[in-house]
Amino acid sequence: MGSSNGKKAVMAVTGAVMVLFLILHMLGNLKIFFGRDSFNEYAHALRTLLEPIVPYRTVLTTLEILLVASVVLHMWAAISLARRAGKARPVKYVAKKSQAGGYTTHIMRFGGLTIALYVVWHLLDLTFGVVNPKGFNSAPADRMVAGFDPSRWWVTLIYVVAVVLVGLHLRHGVWSAFQTLGWANRARNKMLRLGAGLLAAGLVVGFLAPPLAITFGVVQ
């Protein structure tokens, strides 16, 4: 796991965990279109999953631990690979012209960093309610609707920027994971790149629909 390839594999696997989480998270968010009750019931169901076989919040807490571990490992691998890359090029070029768009380094490294900062804000807003007008002791749907109230349009704006960055991150990241795990090849590449693009686009649309609907008054 200490080699550069090992760290890449860690990034691929932890990235996959996060993508699976994002898909479920997005589907859950869409419940808001079926009304506040539907959304609250869903939030409640997450906490009581497999009850009474296991105590309250067992499944959710387990998933949260897995997710936090993935985030930490993903960031650890990214940082140590970025540092290795920095050391591999101590003298910079006077002139450097990207031949492949120069997309990846910016979107992946700085984009990743921005996403991490955003996640902190996002948790403070909708999970812990610290920066949410409704506070922690409120129904999840109330926090969501109040959080994206038209008067808080800037929150929606932050959210839109962050979600688009996630999409761009995944457009490269998902394909890259297949490449890193050695599952990409010439025949599959086209399909994998297309699939990564579609998945990213689907997540962006799915994540943007609820907050935009709330800010523009479609969902009350």
Binding site: S98, A100, Q179
Partner: protein, 246 residues
């Protein structure tokens, strides 16, 4: 053609180095990039200056000795072309051209545009070979190879070890080179016995030399004079992961 060159000059490994500007006049569009530098060097020698040091050998695009970063692109903007095969007709009259050596910690500058690429040799020594009993040559058709495998292996084998992939990579990674060498052997029957240990040995050597990791940016394959494809890197990753999960 009249050109202005901004060239990296560095008298030796410990010199700090700097960009120096030269005027070159009456350049023929039919000259190769290296011939244009030869013209400048002849003048520098006549004027009692130190000529610009650069690597070259075959000047036919097959040996992998030449290479410099021209206007920010390894081997220049002409695709699938080594510096020696790049011709001056691709430049505008009156242009200013920036010329720098490959930049990577494992490729230290020896002098001016010459870098030490022994790190590549050590990666090859770590596993870029097949062990076969030396003796009389076997019949060419004694081991069947599928046409597609033969083609892909041959494509990978066209890597000339020039190092442009490292120079272009924002991470200073040698993944494309190492992957080309690994893929070339791992697709052929002769390469099978050592397939997994080879990938591990070569990748570990690549790390030990101080090259960066791959982020699949594709800068390498874009500048590679032989068009080595990115899927060789997937092949390398696959072999390497097998070596570490066995």
């Amino acid at each position: 053609m009249n050109l202005t060159l901004r060239v990296w000059r560095q008298s030796g490994p410990t010199d700090a180095g700097r960009m120096v500007t030269y005027r070159v006049e009456d350049v023929s569009p039919d000259m190769s990039f290296l011939e244009m530098l030869d013209v400048l060097n002849e003048r520098l020698i006549l004027e009692g200056d130190d000529p610009i040091a650069f690597d070259h050998d075959c000047r036919e695009g097959i040996c992998g000795m030449c290479g410099m970063v021209i206007n920010g692109v390894a081997h220049g903007e002409q695709r699938a072309t080594t510096t020696c095969q790049l011709h001056m007709r691709h430049f505008e009259d009156g242009a200013t051209i920036t010329i720098e050596p490959w930049r990577a910690a494992p490729f230290p500058v020896v002098k001016d545009l010459v870098v030490d690429r022994s790190a590549f040799d050590r990666i090859i020594q770590a596993g870029g070979f097949v062990s076969v009993p030396a003796g009389s040559a076997p019949d060419a058709h004694s081991i069947p190879v599928r046409k597609e495998d033969a083609d892909s292996a041959f494509d990978a084998a066209t890597c000339i070890g020039c190092g442009a992939c490292v120079a272009a990579c924002p991470n200073g990674s040698a993944s494309l080179f190492t992957a080309a060498k690994i893929t070339h052997l791992s697709l052929l029957p002769q390469g099978q016995p050592e397939r997994v240990s080879r990938a591990k040995a070569m990748v570990d050597q690549m790390d030990a030399e101080g090259f960066g990791g791959c982020t699949n940016t594709g800068e390498c394959t874009a500048v590679c004079p032989k068009g080595i494809p990115l899927d060789t890197i997937a092949q390398m990753n696959s072999d390497y992961l097998k070596a570490n999960t066995k």
